[in-house]
């Protein structure tokens, strides 16, 4: 089979469409939210969230199998979000608090998983996702969770922008930074939960952090930032999905979908970084 035949075949397979739907929802939400993760330097907090979600994912899996993963993740994410928001709002030593929570939660997750009979298979699925085997129900739930995340940010967009830029000014203008931070962290948690299914708990960070970081390299103002991040996320996810499929089918080497998508994100970042180093930055002068 030629490359294009394989590619054509990809679009005839229902599981590919399910994977595509999950990734589309995920990238739209992650692109938008990733911009704020980048602007506010919340990378470590996001990392903390992904690890905090893990025991929920593991517990959900143990009690209710694959279908329990999402519910467990949502519960764990909700608890962790409130905790992290309150801790990081106090500023002092928030990194230490996040790091402690991160390791504590992850060890709880590993202990839960080790109680399960089918340890290695379930652990792998939880950590690295199962993009090609998502069920129709998981697709629906993922899309709903992504839509919630997207809506939360869209509804508070102006306040989020203002308080990311200068929190004192935003507060002076009548916004409530703590409430806004909580909304943002809930949205991040939603993306983490949604992405756990597709790309897995350990690879979520690439999807959240890379699009915002790349868009920031290339844009002068806000408009390009959001549009750029979402477009990059969508294109990179599509490339990753199709690459994973064509390599698996064409070269008969089984390549995990989630990891391939994450890899494409990272490669995109490296390319962007290299090109940025060569191309002079016209945007900074802004004599347009």
């Amino acid at each position: 089979m030629s490359f294009f035949e394989i590619l054509g075949q990809a679009f005839t397979l229902p599981f590919m469409w399910r994977a595509a739907a999950v990734l589309a929802g995920l990238t739209l939400a992650a692109g938008l939210i990733g911009v704020f993760v980048n602007l506010r330097g919340l990378e470590f907090l996001s990392d903390g969230l992904t690890h905090a979600v893990f025991p929920g994912v593991a517990a959900g899996f143990m009690f209710a199998g694959t279908s329990g993963v999402l519910y467990g993740a949502i519960i764990a994410a909700a608890l962790a979000t409130v905790f992290l928001t309150l801790v990081s709002h106090r500023k002092v030593t928030s990194d230490a608090a996040i790091a402690i929570m991160l390791t504590a939660m992850f060890s709880i997750g590993v202990i839960i998983v080790s109680r399960s009979h089918n340890v290695s298979a379930s652990l792998e699925q939880l950590l690295f996702g199962h993009l090609f085997t998502v069920s129709p129900t998981e697709v629906v739930i993922t899309l709903i969770v992504c839509a919630v995340a997207f809506a939360l940010i869209l509804a508070t967009l102006r306040g989020q922008i203002f308080s990311s830029f200068d929190v004192r000014g935003a507060q002076a203008a009548g916004y409530r930074p703590l409430a806004l931070a909580l909304v943002l962290n809930i949205a991040i948690a939603c993306v983490v939960v949604a992405a756990s299914i597709a790309v897995g708990n350990l690879l979520v960070l690439a999807v959240i952090i890379v699009p915002g970081a790349i868009a920031r390299m290339w844009t002068r103002g806000l408009g390009g930032l959001f549009v750029g991040a979402v477009i990059f996320a969508f294109v990179a996810a599509t490339i990753g999905l199709l690459a994973s499929f064509t390599i698996s089918v064409g070269a008969d080497v089984s390549v995990p979908g989630g990891a391939t998508v994450a890899m494409v994100f990272v490669i995109g970042y490296l390319i962007s970084l290299a090109v940025r180093a060569i191309v002079p930055d016209r945007s900074v002068r802004g004599e347009a």
Binding site: F162, G169, A172, G174
Partner: protein, 255 residues
């Protein structure tokens, strides 16, 4: 006049963990009036502004801030110029977008910027002499331009009360003069101004009253009543003060 008063503080104290506290302030601002807050570093000048904004909690006394309309936030029509170092200057945003932030509260959460919003932004950029830099990335502007940009944001709010934290810092002479003119214009349009400064000369040019602070209120009133040697010595404890007819020099505060 009391019913129109923009700001009224009766024996107010503000305090918050990290920031310097300020206590026992009794003062007021009427429309068209400008008040300068003068005091040494760490005397609570910025605390005063943040307290009025509600950023630093009021722990004692009574404060009344003019409310534009029922149901709207009390700070909806307060313009605020923060000190530059509170700002993330790496933020990917254009100057015009920063100034538009001043309109956010009027637009609410969902409405797109309308003609009046764009006009207010254009006017604010014009007044601050930044029209040609409108599309530049904020972080690439000079310190003085950034400060004028933030002032433009405060002006775009079309405020009734303008709070300015060290507005003359980082400005060169022509821009200082321009700012003084701008503030005089605003006053004549009935805007109340409360600003912090180290520069008594500038305070003298723009302001009608002085609030002298040193962790607590030392004095409040018309310029010449407040700027006495005794008051200044009390405020600037340990700092040498010379009062030479109209010129007051405070060594060590050469901003």
């Amino acid at each position: 006049m009391t019913s129109q008063r923009l700001l009224n503080l009766d024996d107010v104290s503000f305090a918050y963990e990290a920031d310097a506290a300020l206590s026992h302030v009794t003062m007021s601002i009427d429309p068209g009036q400008a008040v300068a807050i003068i005091g040494p570093n760490g005397s609570g000048k910025s605390t005063m502004l943040k307290g009025v904004l509600g950023v630093i909690p009021l722990v004692a006394g009574e404060m009344t801030v003019f409310r534009p309309k029922k149901g709207r936030g009390q700070s909806g029509r307060i313009g605020y110029l923060p000190q530059d170092d509170d700002i993330d200057s790496e933020f990917p945003i254009t100057l015009k977008q920063v100034v538009m932030m001043g309109r956010y509260r009027r637009m609410g959460w969902f409405r797109f910027p309308g003609a009046d919003d764009r006009q207010a932004v254009a006017d604010a950029l014009e007044v601050t002499g930044l029209t040609s830099r409108a599309n530049a990335r904020f972080g690439t502007l000079s310190g003085g331009q950034q400060q004028r940009g933030l002032l433009a944001r405060a002006l775009a709010t079309k405020p009734s009360l303008l709070l300015l934290d060290e507005p003359f810092n980082a400005l060169d002479q022509p821009n200082r003069d321009a700012l003084i003119e701008t503030l005089k214009d605003l006053k004549s349009n009935g805007v109340g101004i409360l600003l912090t400064t180290h520069d008594l000369e500038l305070a003298r040019e723009v302001c009608d009253s002085i609030l002298l602070v040193n962790g607590t209120q030392v004095a409040f009133g018309p310029l010449d009543e407040v700027l006495t040697l005794e008051n200044l010595q009390q405020a600037f404890e340990g700092v040498q003060v010379e009062v030479d007819e109209h010129k007051v020099v405070i060594p060590g505060h050469s901003h």
